[in-house]
């Protein structure tokens, strides 16, 4: 069981690394969105510090979402998805592998990039740590929930826009607890409660979402 998950991860990572442009453009999207805000609201350090958790989290969330349509679309186009669905291995486990691989090439680098962008917003050091950690902890849930949306919209006209319409409302709890953790650190409350709730969302998202996504894929293939 674990074997097929780890094999799917390895396969998807290899594919992603042979096409590094996708990965890089997601990261640049994050950087650009985060840099637009100071230009929009002005350079006052106090204001930026206040906006930072929300802006950086929304940026990370949108960047994750942008890479979602690719999650199944390539496999769908070249027929690999049919083969996956016909494999004796449970489709849910292979989707889990794909979700983890998606996180490794989106959530993980976004989290590593976030503290650098946090510096632009004059966040204090402890808040930078919490920002990184909260994005690390929360993005797996985004990849999981996003997989459901990607499965449901597979092969549809205007799939990308529809995908965001379906997925963004479901992302709200992750955004609230993720940005809340950083906020709580800045205001001195401590991020503990937020981070535990974020971990709960991620566990729930990663455990259940792949099966819902697998059901969606089977419907899309019919």
């Amino acid at each position: 069981m674990l074997q097929i998950v780890s094999y799917t991860i390895a396969r998807d990572l290899r594919l992603a690394l042979r096409r590094p442009a996708d990965l890089v453009s997601v990261l640049f999207f994050f950087i650009i969105v985060a840099s637009l805000f100071p230009l929009g609201v002005g350079p006052e350090a106090d204001l930026l510090r206040q906006l930072a958790p929300g802006v950086l989290w929304v940026g990370a969330l949108l960047a994750t979402m942008l890479s979602l349509p690719r999650l199944f679309a390539d496999d769908h186009r070249d027929g690999t998805l049919e083969q996956l669905a016909l494999s004796p291995n449970p489709l849910g486990l292979m989707v889990l592998g794909k979700v983890i691989a998606h996180w490794l090439v989106s959530g993980l680098p976004l989290a590593l990039l976030a503290p650098v962008l946090g510096l632009q917003f004059d966040l204090p050091a402890d808040a930078l740590w919490v920002l990184t950690f909260s994005i690390l902890l929360g993005t797996p849930a985004l990849s999981g929930i996003g997989a459901i949306g990607a499965g449901l919209t597979l092969g549809l006209r205007g799939g990308g826009v529809l995908l965001s319409l379906l997925v963004l409302p479901l992302y709200i709890p992750v955004l609230i607890f993720g940005a809340g953790a950083v906020d709580a650190t800045v205001s001195g409350l401590g991020p503990g409660a937020h981070l535990s709730l974020l971990a709960a969302l991620t566990i729930g998202g990663v455990a259940f979402a792949p099966w819902a996504a697998a059901a969606a894929l089977k419907i899309a293939l019919e």
Binding site: L168, I172, L197
Partner: protein, 248 residues
């Protein structure tokens, strides 16, 4: 016994005439309840000593909020039935309910804004309940958009069903997280949780209005499901017979 009856009516061809007979009943009940509710709401219920006459919008606002949430549950229930038993009618019911639910969510937000302006001095406040209602509206719109983007009705029903079920699991999580977020950011905003004690006549008015909305939802959903049945089954013999009879 009852199982047999249920499955008999789960066939579109038997459900269609049944729904046709029920619709006038629900419309009549709606008319009576709505008149009674509005009469109580506008003429019997006393003027609120804190909020003046403006509070009377709750007779519509509260019922609409209830209906919007309840309709989502019913929709998810039909969606689950459709996935579990592969019955065609379940998917049709779910897609017939979605626009009504979205409408009530919209009315709830709209009346909430109208109520908010005189009460709190702002059209919109980021109150937990308002925010959740807004997200609920997004969920409805997502459902409608997804089912309309898929041409094959069977796939549309099933995909919509998965989305509705995922949504129904998430609704409590969203509500809880928004509430948590709201208590942390309360600060300057007005506390809305402490509604003034309500006179029992107001409660009666609200109940009557809510029941009227129930009847409206049932009538409209059944009308819509009849249209959907005709549209999807237009190539079957019973629909052709029906249409031939109509056009005579």
């Amino acid at each position: 016994m009852s199982m047999i009856n249920w499955f008999k009516f789960s066939a579109p061809s038997t459900f269609y005439p049944l729904a046709g007979r029920l619709i006038p009943v629900f419309w009549a009940l709606f008319a009576i309840l709505a008149l009674a509710g509005l009469w109580v709401g506008f003429f019997v219920a006393p003027t609120d000593f804190q909020q003046g006459e403006g509070y009377r919008i709750i007779f519509i606002h509260v019922g609409a909020s209830w209906m919007s949430m309840f309709t989502y549950l019913v929709m998810a229930f039909w969606a689950g039935m459709g996935l579990a038993f592969n019955t065609r009618l379940s998917g049709m019911m779910a897609s017939a309910l979605a626009p009504t639910g979205a409408l009530f969510a919209f009315i709830s937000l709209w009346t909430g804004a109208l109520w908010g302006k005189p009460m709190w001095g702002a059209w919109w406040v980021w109150d937990a309940r308002l925010t959740s209602e807004l997200i609920l509206l997004f969920l409805y719109i997502g459902f409608i958009a997804l089912t309309h983007a898929i041409d094959d009705t069977r796939r549309a029903d099933k995909a919509g069903a998965i989305l509705a079920l995922v949504g129904v699991v998430n609704v409590p999580i969203i509500y809880f997280s928004v509430k948590w977020w709201n208590t942390l950011h309360q600060g300057a905003s007005v506390s809305l949780t402490k509604a003034p004690a309500m006179a029992s006549i107001m409660l009666w008015g609200m109940l009557l209005c809510a029941l009227a909305m129930w009847m409206y939802s049932l009538a409209v959903a059944l009308m819509r499901v009849r249209v959907i049945i005709l549209e999807r089954e237009r190539h079957t013999d019973w629909v052709k017979e029906l249409l031939a009879k109509r056009s005579q």
